[in-house]
Symmetry: C2
Subunit: 578 residues, 2 copies
Amino acid sequence: MSDTQNKTKHEIPSLKSLEQDFGQKFAYPASTKTYLEGSRSDIKAPIRMIEQLSTRVGEEMVANPPIPVYDTSGPYSDPDILINLEKGLPLLRKNWIEERGDTEQLAGPSSEYGVARSIDEATQSLRFAHINPPRVAKSGNNVSQMYYARQGIVTPEMEYVALRESMGLEQLRKNPEYKQLLKQHPGKSYGANLPEIVTGEFVRSEIAAGRAIIPANINHPELEPMIIGRNFRVKINGNLGNSAVTSSINEEVEKMVWSIRWGADTIMDLSTGKHIHETREWIIRNSPVPIGTVPIYQALDKTGGIAEDLTWEMFRDTLVEQAEQGVDYFTIHAGVLLRYVPLTAERLTGIVSRGGSIMAKWCLAHHKENFLYTKFDEICELMKAYDVSFSLGDGLRPGCIADSNDAAQFGELHTLGELTAKAWKHDVQVMIEGPGHVPMQRIEENMTEELKHCLEAPFYTLGPLITDIAPGYDHITSGIGAAQIGWYGTAMLCYVTPKEHLGLPDKEDVRTGIITYKIAAHGADLAKGLPGAQVRDNALSKARFEFRWEDQFNLGLDPERAREYHDATLPAEGAKIA
Amino acid sequence: MSDTQNKTKHEIPSLKSLEQDFGQKFAYPASTKTYLEGSRSDIKAPIRMIEQLSTRVGEEMVANPPIPVYDTSGPYSDPDILINLEKGLPLLRKNWIEERGDTEQLAGPSSEYGVARSIDEATQSLRFAHINPPRVAKSGNNVSQMYYARQGIVTPEMEYVALRESMGLEQLRKNPEYKQLLKQHPGKSYGANLPEIVTGEFVRSEIAAGRAIIPANINHPELEPMIIGRNFRVKINGNLGNSAVTSSINEEVEKMVWSIRWGADTIMDLSTGKHIHETREWIIRNSPVPIGTVPIYQALDKTGGIAEDLTWEMFRDTLVEQAEQGVDYFTIHAGVLLRYVPLTAERLTGIVSRGGSIMAKWCLAHHKENFLYTKFDEICELMKAYDVSFSLGDGLRPGCIADSNDAAQFGELHTLGELTAKAWKHDVQVMIEGPGHVPMQRIEENMTEELKHCLEAPFYTLGPLITDIAPGYDHITSGIGAAQIGWYGTAMLCYVTPKEHLGLPDKEDVRTGIITYKIAAHGADLAKGLPGAQVRDNALSKARFEFRWEDQFNLGLDPERAREYHDATLPAEGAKIA
């Protein structure tokens, strides 16, 4: 106990220093945080405007207009908001949730584990101090965005993402200053349907059809809503996760905040170890982006790591615990069926998904069907009471290119399609996880199979890595695959860092992973022909051609890195070969 | 003069320390350099065999066979060869060249500049001391590999590359230890014709058809021949180049040697400044891979940097000078025609190729057609007397994605096709340079246009970068495009380092650029279905699955980096998300 206290005493100033750090180092150079206002004053979607220097044309200085970029960084980049990590972020969605009148506030957590942890003395000092009691749907109500969408309701969340996706493009089109910058090549969309302007009604219809999701737990009112679907900007996810050995809660909060600063659209918290519940609370309360988890990891921890000892009751309690903390999407490996497990026997690398191997072990030990599959309707009941979205896990994804697109992988994918249809009967939002390791010529099949069997539910892939021969560079092997599968229609790309297969990423690795995936996602947007996607490329290229170095740095994905690399001795013609 | 001498005195020990460095740090772990012998004992193509540890199966230890990998590192990785940078590498091809009896050795350099430099006192101390007098074709002879191929001759160079490309695959197929590792997914070849085993005759026929080249100047006998063509392994080029300001000759030699250690198949020497002639000599004499240059850079230096003052005579003298030093391929911007220049006026970034802008300036200043175009037959006469290959430069390549695939770029490409046909009349080997900056949906058109208009001559592209928004990460923006265009049929990929657009690369940047491009090239080989390409992936994946960490590192593209990143605290299940 005294050990923990000492540790905490050591950590408290560190929180303050983080806050100061965010304030001082967090702002992007030459950037202004602004908001696009919707139909009511509390719908204000963030946007970052990058100011540019003027161009000298003869004697005259001709102004270059500011360039809007999508902003994932939340209140941390708003100079008008005082950040206090101990108190958490402002509750942007509180009123939206309450005014719907379909939820109630509980007196306290309703999961056994949640109750136990709320009064646990050993972790008291680690606990986030300002936890609001959780909300849940009133009996008989469904509070999912999909439910509302199917009722024909455009929620504030939907209107918010419509503004956020459009990024004021309609205004830019009316402004002659942007005429040259708006020039864009036609895309090759592979069947995506990208509207010229994203409206709230378009968002609603995509969610109603299941082609997009807004992961938005009612217990995550700090969230700035975002959308995942192939008819919107391609998104990226960054993973965090402490292990008791290597990092503290504060380090994870720090990585989360820097992740969204560099551009992560969602964060998965894959923490393990003793303080997983507490770490998650700190992250959610301070996160403006959706948080995803893999609940089976924590459930397994509760058994002391013995897969065979997992029970439905224990898992269900974990879902309630995490749903009441505000987790926005759950990876659930409900497609790992008993009959698929033998299909992995001849594989070069068997089952590599941690969740997949836990469930396979359980199935084999009990010779029973996966309880996540048999209890799927009950899980759906729970999901819709908090609006947690499914991220249906690919527990049988290939662990090497040799195992790509095999019977086990595609068998599971078919089951995920069946489960998608089931979840949609409950109006629960769904996305589908995908591989993994796939050589280039086999990537497209993954997308077409997913679209066909999973009914166009958004696809969310890990890479894929296009070769297995480059440990230490798997952000690149996977970034290549991610750009391609994003182009073909994947809605969100889960990043991979240089440490993949080798160790846990530090802050620098997170930065490298995120920027690599921003490149892949943006490359996919350009290739699909997303309206307005080329503006930033055009602006940066014009700055480059005019030797406006500062603008070149500022318009880039990582201004600090570009500035650092810039070499004052560079000859004027540039470093290109001819 | 005393300044130079001091500098040299300072450099001499540094050469020795480089040699020691190469010996001590250069060898790949657990690797054996071996040779595949051809029809005669002096045809020995290098191959690196990576030894593996055994796998424990129950009580037994089951051996894992050594994995062959393509080896670009030359004599530096052969423990039986003593490296002496001052003397240069062994003359592997000397006898092959001499026995053909179609060349003669000159008394000394025949270019004006070469003569002047050979007796120049100011640079005496910088000069490579053991220069052999150059060779040239006897009057009326053509010494190009294309000429021999069209005569039906399989030269030792051709047989060498056949062995080198095949990597002993035929033996592996007969050995049951490799059965599982040889499993491979079918490729999607986009029209490439990849033989199960590469024979000397196949190499000959590809060169005769112009679909492949072996850049192999008769004055570069140190060369280990390699082939560039879409029916062979995809190759990568690394650029070097000192500028008087930032680096010394020794540093460039060091970068060259490390480049080939990491896997560069060819090197372009883009040095500028006062000692460009001397630097080149040091690099060629110590390079086992083909060296390319852009002769117009040096010609421009001779005018003091004034493009308008360039003359054909000056340029021709530079070609002779460099051909007699042993440069294996020349980038020649002969497709920048006067009528194309106005087509770049509406571009966002005009002309960004240095060579392209030099020639455009010259054309406009004189209002004359590009002399590289009008004198093309004379250039061909010269190329075939030394067997220098053309790398027909894309002086009008796009400098941003907005300018991709436009009339200027494709106009020039058509002219490069016309010039290809002309060069082939002289039996001169040709490859075609390509872009540059192209969003993903427009990459394939570059390949199909090139194949169609340039008669399937090998394509050699710079990336392309798929977006312009990531300065500091353009190895990645371009690596994505390179993997794709390599898959579509590009024969060689010119690397881009993280410093592109920002500064000159240091040794670490070179490493990052090369590994990124090895990934792209190998990814393309896999996607095309190159026979045997998946063996290394399969072996590494098996090692990964069996937790043979050392084998995982050793089988990777960069064992040192992987080992450095490996974190001993990593949980056994690996760092993957589920």
